[in-house]
Symmetry: C2
Subunit: 250 residues, 2 copies
Amino acid sequence: MKRIKLVVAYDGTNYCGWQLQPGMPTIELMLNNALSELLKEDINVIGASRTDSGVHALGNVAVFDTNSAIPAEKICFAVNQRLPEDIRVQSSVEVEPFFHPRRVKSKKTYEYRIYNRKIEIPTQRLYSNFIYYDLDIAKMQEAANYLVGEHDFKSFCSVKTQALDTVRTIYRIDINRIEDMIYIKITGNGFLYNMVRIIAGTLIEVGRGAYPPEKIIEILKGSDRNLAGPTALARGLTLISIEYENDYSF
Amino acid sequence: MKRIKLVVAYDGTNYCGWQLQPGMPTIELMLNNALSELLKEDINVIGASRTDSGVHALGNVAVFDTNSAIPAEKICFAVNQRLPEDIRVQSSVEVEPFFHPRRVKSKKTYEYRIYNRKIEIPTQRLYSNFIYYDLDIAKMQEAANYLVGEHDFKSFCSVKTQALDTVRTIYRIDINRIEDMIYIKITGNGFLYNMVRIIAGTLIEVGRGAYPPEKIIEILKGSDRNLAGPTALARGLTLISIEYENDYSF
């Protein structure tokens, strides 16, 4: 028996998120089906990040155990031939059998994209949140800086969360504009349910002038979801990468 | 009666191209329906470029005549509310009544995108042609330079064309790579049926080493579609802009 780690990219548009849900198309279901068919075993992947419906990924991580004799590095090419075109495994490597993608410390990086111009361009619509009003990205960066560090992010977490501990560390948030696209890149040791989308929604409120940047201090202190801005649209969010302290490869 | 010029952007993924075809979803049909509903007249647009099924646009051009009192500049915002989200009119201006988008001289710019890496990234798949083998872009540029100028492009035109005159002028072709994406940008005074896709398909053959760059001279001379490379996938192609010598605005 060996444990295989996959790096998985997907277009979340047509899926009800990562996690298995009875009768619904999810990324986890597609991976389980394609791997089970390929390896002729009953495969159940364990995912690192259970992304929401409509959220995309360049580098989500999953592991599974197998008795197959197929070399670990070849699995990604073979499984891609059995996956729909909106899911592609980027790599497959053997890892230590104790490696669990959610229990081992990691640094996750997400990108939230805002397409900011007067009229939408349809070819950008699936991978960004279109906003026609002006956004002040200097103010958004100023607000974002208050979020960096270790904080209780209860105000930036869906009330539907099951997390008891809402303290997380954000290492950095960088906001850049290239032509009409605004990129919010955020790296942390973990994110609560809807946390990146609520941060994006709150920074948009700051960008349009509805909140002053310092309001972030108040929102953090209040520990109340109602104080933060709305949850920004899922289609603007992409999980870029998950880095582990050690690569645990075998 | 006034003539209105529209600049139209669309995601061609879900359409059978620009041109009306009985019972099929096309960009022209969607524009006619939305404009007729908005202006309460029977509107029939005339398009500048009848893009193929699956081809995208940032700036196709269309005109139509109307008796409506709605100010020309407001039409784009009003019609966008009646269009599906994969079509967006970027601007609407009144033009001289004799302005015809296919009969007036213009410079058209297309971009063909090739996503060139070992494994596909799903969020790029709808707007680029994925190629996993190595491409030598210096050789592709060398080949492209033979196409610049006035030539008979019969070899680079679908045999299904109705064009009698196959002479066209290409002003420039620029090939650039930014990370894993290769951009072929091509500007000319007009393009034959499938011409940009056949040029892209032929440059890909050069890039992978199947043809030497000089083979372009032979292909042009031969005036035979069978000499050129295959027609590259539609999804990689975007009509970027159409510039007219004069803006003909009223």
